[in-house]
Every structure is written in structure tokens, then in C-alpha cells.
């Protein structure tokens, strides 16, 4: 009965979303207040319906109802309770249900926290969200219903893919989806502004905290995914330029550009059209990401068994969204007033340069991701584009962006002298040169790339810290100031981590028997032995290693090779000794003849700085959102007094 209630609630949610997506928009067009007033209750109702539906599915998992096909495919009576919950979004149908649930929770958040917005604007924003939700719900109900029954019921479930039985997976998809779906809000704001013709600073100010929130979730989601791949896939990589990773990274790149472009629109009223295009682009790329992951058109380590019809549906949805919003843009854009002018060297021009580079970087990733598809569609053969392509293109485009990052906060709006910026940057410049000269040597060998990476990291970190110290002399700066610098310092930390891991990691595949030792990165690894161990739903071969550095303590590491009862595939569970300046990492390969095992051993300097940097960026975003000017009640027009002095982009 519970699955039917869930199914019914899902259908009701579709009906409510259809109302939410039509009447308020029409009401805004015709000026009918009673239709406008429907927007908020509709958003609330659709959230309640979807939450009910989601709860019904979660309940089916909890009680092991294997008469529901989706549950039978993704769970098992032996699966621990936590993972039964994670399994709700462990497959296609459930993850889409999570997608719409999160979309409607953004909707209810907008309905709740938009008391200062005028009703027409709210109606339009919620209306656009309702339309998006309608499309996705139709998709779920027509092609991927999670409540389909399996008759007769299965004896036991097929189980959740063992790779996904990990706490990281319980949090990674919801975070990532919150980010993806959050750009729908930025998109809805942009479309609403286009519809109303009020593309102004007030619109940018409303839209900014929402966009930042989505960006924060996306940043965290990507970082969690990368971390999960690092420890769970067992091969020590943190980014593979896999199509599915790219699918989440492209909206991030455009979202980052959008954040900065919104800042200009809010402060100076410029870049309006550009901002709208970025908002449309970021959301379209989120949809494209869903399409790439769910259609199975690309060979990817993430590709799960899929159904091509679903791909076509999402592609149609994507074409509809992009097509209609660009048409609307083309129709309305000529009426958009130009913002303030600015000089060749000004904060606007520097931000614009960074923005263009981010978009170009995003385009190059998009091209590399879709190139195999295009070649295949043209019948020119099947190819794959590997990580070397992305590294060769992406890194050179991003280097100037990262370099500029130190200068932008120093530049004034409208016009600025290069001399003024240079005066404040000579100390970071000298420190960066020293770092580029010295840090790679200390780590074990100078190369151009490690020198460049160290320079850039120190350049940004030093200029950020210097600017914060100067600013503190003039009193406590506002939250947005901290947000900006935290985010930028996060980039510095990230760049440093990537540089060190890329330049100085050591890796060895070796054959080891109990008692054998191997030396990697100054650490000695000794295999004590491999024992059998039992888990709740698996049996494992558990290796015991003594890891010691000269003069340091000896740590024990226990990597495992697991065999889950419900599946035939073995699972590598790496053991990691994480540290501030390095990780040491051991994973078991296969058993060889006798007592010997194939073993992979890694030394990864500063690898945790990669995710630490991402966390700092996300934290920066939170600070930026917390700025008090977003909480002040400004009606419609922009009150200059609401901007605290010194508040920066």
C-alpha cells in the first residue's frame, strides 16, 4: 500500500506543479492577483507531496519491500540500515526523485524567504520553477517510476552496488544535486527578470545569495565526490576528467563566472545580458549533466546500466529549456538598458576577463566531453578523449584566471591605475618568486609546473592575507569581504595541493609476501600478513601493514579486499593514513601464488589540501551569503545606504 501512496503523491505533485508553472505566470502577465497568490501555496503543496512520495520510497527500502522493483534492484535484506537509506538514491529512479524533491525544497525556500520581494516577481520565479518541476516529474512518471511493482515479488533484493555502500555516497549525491538544482533558482530569477523587463541591480541582489547557495552546495558535492573516488575506488586518483565528473564541473565553472558577473550587475548595473546568459547556461549544463549521466551515451567509470529512451526525454527537455529561454532572451535583450561604463583597467574589466576565461575553460571541457559523441554521430568512428587533453587545455586557460585573482579585489570600480594595483602587489610578488624557487627544491626537485603552481598559490594567499590585514586596520570588514578572501585563499590552498600531488606523489605496484618491505616516499611499508575478516554483509581479506618513517612512530594500516555475499565482484577498500602534509595509502590488488599479494602503495604529499581548499571556498560562499545587506528589507529599488562601506564583490 505504501508504494501506491507514494506513487499517488507523485502524480498529485505533478498536477500541483503544473498549476504552479502556469497560473502564476499568466497571473503576472495579466495582472490578476488571485492567480499570483497561488504561487506560494502551490510550491508548498508540491513540496509536501514530494516529501511524502520520497518518504514512501524510503519506507519501502526500510522494510525490505522487494515487491517494488526499484527496491529489489538496489537493496538486500542484509544491507545495513544506513545504506538502505542511501540506496534510495543509489539508482536512476530514486536519484531523480531526489532531484525533484530538492528542486521543490528550493522552491519552498524561495516562497519562505522572499517576503521582501514583490508578489509578481515571486510568482514568476516560482512559476518557472514549477515548469521545470513539471518536466522532470513527467519524466519520472513516464519513463522511470520508482514505485513500479514487481510481480511476483523477489525473494531477496539484488543489493546496492558495493561501491556505493559507503558513508561518502550517502552525502555526495544530495549535495551535488542541491547544487545542480540550485542553479534552477538562479535560472528562474533570470527568466522572471526577463519576463518582467526589470533586469536591474535589485534583481541581481535578490538572485545573488541564492546563486551563492547553489554554488556552495555544488562545490561541496564535487569535493565529496572527488574524495569518495580517492578513498573508495582504491586507485588513489582524485580527478579523472571522466565525462560524469565533467558534467558536474561545467556548471561549477559557469556558476563561478555567474557569481562574479552578478556582483558587477549588483554594484554597477553592467553585464546584465551576460549575467542572464550565464544563469541560463549554468542551469542548462546542469540538465546536460543529468542527460550525460542518465543516458549512458558515454563510456564512463560512472556509467550504470541505462535506458536510451530516458536520454532522449532529457535531451528534449534540455532543448526546450535552452530554446525557449534563449528565444525569450533574444526578444527581451534589446530592451535591456546599458549599465555604467568602465575603463580598460578597472574592476569590471578584470572581472570580465576572468569571466570570459572561465567560460572558455568551460567550453573546452564541454568540447572534450562531447567530442567522442559528435565524432560517433557523424560516423567517423569511436574515440575517447583522455585526461591529457583536459590537462593540456584547461590548465593554461586557468593560469591567467588564478593570476588575476590577486589583483581584482585591489582594482577600483570604473577606472583604476595599474600603478595603484602594482604598489600593493609587490610583496606577494616577491614572496611568490621565492616560493617558486624554493618550495619545489624542498620537496625533491624543481620543475616548471611545480614552480608555477607554488608561485600562484603563494601569490594569492599572500595578497589575500595582506589585504585582510590592511582592511582590519580600518575596522571589522563585512561578511562579504571575508567571504571573498576565504574563497580566494581556498583556491590558493587547492592549487598548492594539486601542484604538490601532481609533482611529488610516489606510487608503486609491488608483489609482497608477509615480511616483505617496500620503501615509498621515505616511508617503509611492511606486510605483516593477510587474514580473513567478516563484515555485516561481506567477507574480506584483510591485510596488515606496518608503516614507519625514519625516526617516526609506526602506524598500522588495514586495507581490505571485500567479497559481498550478494555480488560476484570483489571490492578494494584502501587504507589511508591521512596527515596534514601527506597521506600514505595502501590498497590490496589480487592474491598471487603462495602467500603473495599484489599491493599498491602511494605517498601523496599535501593531497588533503585539495579538499581543504574546496571546503574553504564553500565556507567563503557561506560568509558571502551571510552579509547583512541581503537581510535588509529593501523594496524594489536599491537603497544605497543598505550597502555597508567597503563591501566588495
Amino acid at each position: 500500500m505504501t508504494p501506491e501512496i507514494g506513487h499517488f503523491a507523485l502524480i498529485l505533485a505533478l498536477c500541483v506543479s503544473l498549476v504552479q508553472g502556469t497560473l502564476p505566470l499568466l497571473g503576472a502577465h495579466k495582472g490578476r492577483a488571485e492567480w499570483l497568490a497561488l504561487a506560494r501555496p502551490a510550491a508548498q503543496t508540491s513540496f509536501v507531496m514530494l516529501a511524502l512520495s520520497f518518504a514512501a520510497l524510503a519506507w519501502s527500502f526500510y522494510v525490505n519491500d522487494f515487491s517494488v522493483q526499484y527496491v529489489a534492484q538496489h537493496s538486500n535484506s542484509q544491507l545495513p540500515t544506513l545504506y538502505r537509506f542511501g540506496a534510495v538514491w543509489g539508482g536512476h529512479e530514486g536519484s531523480l526523485l531526489l532531484w525533484v524533491l530538492l528542486l521543490s525544497s528550493w522552491g519552498i525556500a524561495v516562497a519562505q524567504y522572499s517576503r521582501t520581494l514583490d508578489d509578481t516577481m515571486v510568482a514568476r520565479v516560482l512559476g518557472v520553477l514549477g515548469l521545470v518541476s513539471t518536466g522532470l516529474l513527467l519524466f519520472i512518471l513516464l519513463t522511470s517510476n520508482p514505485f513500479d511493482r514487481l510481480l511476483p515479488a523477489a525473494e531477496n533484493g539484488r543489493d546496492l552496488n558495493p561501491l556505493l555502500q559507503d558513508p561518502g555516497l550517502v552525502f555526495h549525491p544530495p549535495m551535488l544535486y542541491m547544487g545542480y538544482v540550485g542553479f534552477a533558482v538562479a535560472f528562474a530569477f533570470a527568466i522572471a527578470a526577463l519576463l518582467s523587463g526589470r533586469l536591474d541591480a535589485a534583481w541581481a541582489r535578490w538572485s545573488r545569495p541564492w546563486t551563492t547557495a547553489a554554488w556552495v552546495f555544488l562545490t561541496m558535492g564535487i569535493a565529496l565526490g572527488s574524495w569518495w573516488a580517492y578513498y573508495e575506488l582504491g586507485w588513489g586518483g582524485w580527478w579523472f576528467w571522466d565525462p560524469v565528473e565533467n558534467a558536474s564541473f561545467m556548471p561549477w565553472l559557469l556558476g563561478t563566472a555567474l557569481l562574479h558577473s552578478l556582483a558587477v550587475t549588483e554594484k554597477r548595473g553592467s553585464f546584465k545580458s551576460w549575467t542572464v546568459l550565464l544563469a541560463i547556461g549554468a542551469f542548462s549544463l546542469s540538465l546536460l549533466g543529468t542527460f550525460l549521466v542518465r543516458s549512458g551515451v558515454l563510456t564512463s567509470v560512472h556509467a550504470f546500466a541505462t535506458d536510451p529512451r530516458r536520454g532522449i526525454f532529457i535531451l528534449t527537455l534540455l532543448v526546450l529549456v535552452v530554446g525557449s529561454s534563449l528565444t525569450l532572451f533574444a526578444w527581451r535583450a534589446p530592451k535591456v538598458a546599458l549599465g555604467g561604463t568602465f575603463g580598460a583597467i578597472s574592476r569590471e574589466s578584470l572581472l570580465l576577463t576572468g569571466n570570459v576565461l572561465l567560460v572558455v575553460a568551460c567550453a573546452s571541457v564541454l568540447l572534450g566531453t562531447l567530442y567522442p559523441l559528435i565524432i560517433d554521430a557523424l560516423g567517423l568512428g569511436k574515440i575517447s578523449v583522455g585526461p591529457p587533453y583536459f590537462n593540456a587545455v584547461f590548465v593554461p586557460i586557468m593560469v591567467p584566471v588564478v593570476f588575476l585573482l590577486a589583483a581584482v579585489p585591489l582594482a577600483r570600480w570604473k577606472n583604476t591605475q595599474i600603478k595603484e594595483i602594482a604598489i600593493q602587489l609587490w610583496i606577494p610578488g616577491v614572496l611568490a618568486l621565492l616560493a617558486g624557487w624554493q618550495i619545489p627544491r624542498m620537496m625533491g626537485g624543481w620543475t616548471v609546473l611545480t614552480a608555477l603552481g607554488s608561485m600562484l598559490a603563494v601569490w594569492i594567499a599572500a595578497s589575500g592575507i595582506l589585504q585582510i590585514t590592511y582592511r582590519l586596520k580600518a575596522g571589522l570588514p563585512p561578511a562579504s569581504f571575508w567571504g571573498m578572501h576565504l574563497g580566494h585563499i581556498g583556491i590558493a590552498v587547492f592549487v598548492f595541493g594539486v601542484t604538490m600531488v601532481g609533482g611529488f606523489q610516489e606510487e608503486q605496484d609491488v608483489r609482497m609476501e608477509p615480511g616483505d618491505t617496500v620503501l615509498v616516499g621515505g616511508y617503509q611499508f611492511k606486510l605483516i600478513g593477510v587474514q580473513e575478516a567478516m563484515g555485516p554483509n561481506y567477507k574480506a581479506s584483510r591485510g596488515e601493514f606496518d608503516v614507519s618513517s625514519p625516526g617516526g612512530p609506526t602506524n598500522k594500516l588495514f586495507p581490505e579486499k571485500r567479497n559481498y555475499f550478494s555480488s560476484t565482484m570483489p571490492m578494494t577498500e584502501a587504507a589511508i593514513d591521512a596527515g596534514f602534509t601527506r597521506d600514505v595509502y595502501v590498497s590490496l590488488g589480487e592474491p598471487l601464488e603462495g602467500n603473495a599479494w599484489a599491493v599498491r602503495v602511494y605517498f601523496k604529499p599535501f593531497v588533503d589540501w585539495i579538499w581543504g581548499g574546496c571546503m574553504l571556498m564553500a565556507l567563503g560562499g557561506l560568509f558571502a551569503m551571510a552579509d547583512r545587506r541581503y537581510r535588509l528589507r529593501v523594496k524594489g529599488t536599491d537603497a544605497p545606504a543598505a550597502t555597508p562601506k567597503g563591501a566588495k564583490a
Binding site: 552496488n161 550504470f304 575517447s384 590488488g589 598471487l592
Partner: protein, 146 residues
């Protein structure tokens, strides 16, 4: 700066960024693309020489054997076979009788030395390239029958 000068500067700057990016992209695409080749195409001598490429297909049952860290196995599309060797640790989902994709180079001996064996997340998933290789070989077989 005057209006037209500024516009020219912006357009010029934008074009040069695009130009540099395009040059990077083309250069990188040229040297970093791996072609997918089926075992039948390898047998017919259609595989690229001196360049890395990928083979999709099935790992032949009973063909896997180890020599310390080096693994030998045979990739097949049920029509033709290619012997493959790989040094290192295989991904968890690598199994005899299942689909796989390997990337590497063809030696003059006709052996394929893999530098990478592709991992997947799901045991029921068949890489599209492996599937296609099998389908193509099946078609050729059917066509060969009178």
C-alpha cells in the same frame, strides 16, 4: 579611451583569447585521442601503428594467467582475438567472460601491451564499445553465411 577604441580592444582581446584556446584545443585533441578498434579490425591490420588506441570486447574465458605483476589475457569479439598483456593491478570488475576496454599499443609481435584497463562501477554494465564490437563481429559472421 574612446568608444570605438574600447570596443576594438575588447573584440581584439576576446578574439585572441578564443584563438589561443582554439590552438590549445586542436593541438591537444590531435595528440590525445584514442581510437576505439574492435579485435576483428586489429586482425585485419586496421589498427593504428605507433599510436595508442583502445580495444573493446570480451575477456576470453580461461585466457587469464599471471606472471607476477604482469597479467596476460585475450580480448575477443567472438570472431577474432587479440592477446593482451598488462603490468599492474587490475580493476575490481575485470573478469573473464565480461566486457572490458583496454588502452595501449600494438607490438610488432601482434601482442597488445595495455597501459590502462578501464574500470566500471556496475557488474551488469557493458561498455558500449565492447557491445558494439561484439555486434559488428556478429553481423560480419552473419553476412559471411550464405
Amino acid at each position: 579611451m574612446k568608444g570605438w577604441k574600447k570596443r576594438a580592444a575588447i573584440i581584439g582581446g576576446g578574439l585572441s583569447v578564443l584563438g589561443i584556446a582554439a590552438a590549445l584545443v586542436l593541438n591537444a585533441l590531435n595528440s590525445n585521442i584514442a581510437l576505439y578498434v574492435t579485435p576483428s579490425e586489429v586482425a585485419a591490420g586496421k589498427a593504428p601503428k605507433m599510436q595508442a588506441f583502445r580495444i573493446g570486447g570480451l575477456v576470453k574465458d580461461g585466457s587469464l594467467h599471471r606472471d607476477n605483476l604482469t597479467v596476460h589475457f585475450v580480448m575477443t569479439d567472438m570472431a577474432h582475438e587479440v592477446p593482451v598483456s598488462y603490468t599492474g593491478i587490475l580493476p575490481d570488475l575485470f573478469k573473464e567472460g565480461k566486457g572490458a576496454v583496454v588502452q595501449g599499443k600494438l607490438e610488432t609481435s601482434g601482442d597488445f601491451t595495455a597501459s590502462e584497463v578501464l574500470a566500471k562501477h556496475d557488474e551488469n554494465y557493458m561498455p558500449p564499445e565492447a557491445k558494439q564490437a561484439l555486434e559488428q563481429a556478429q553481423k560480419t559472421k552473419d553476412a559471411a553465411k550464405p
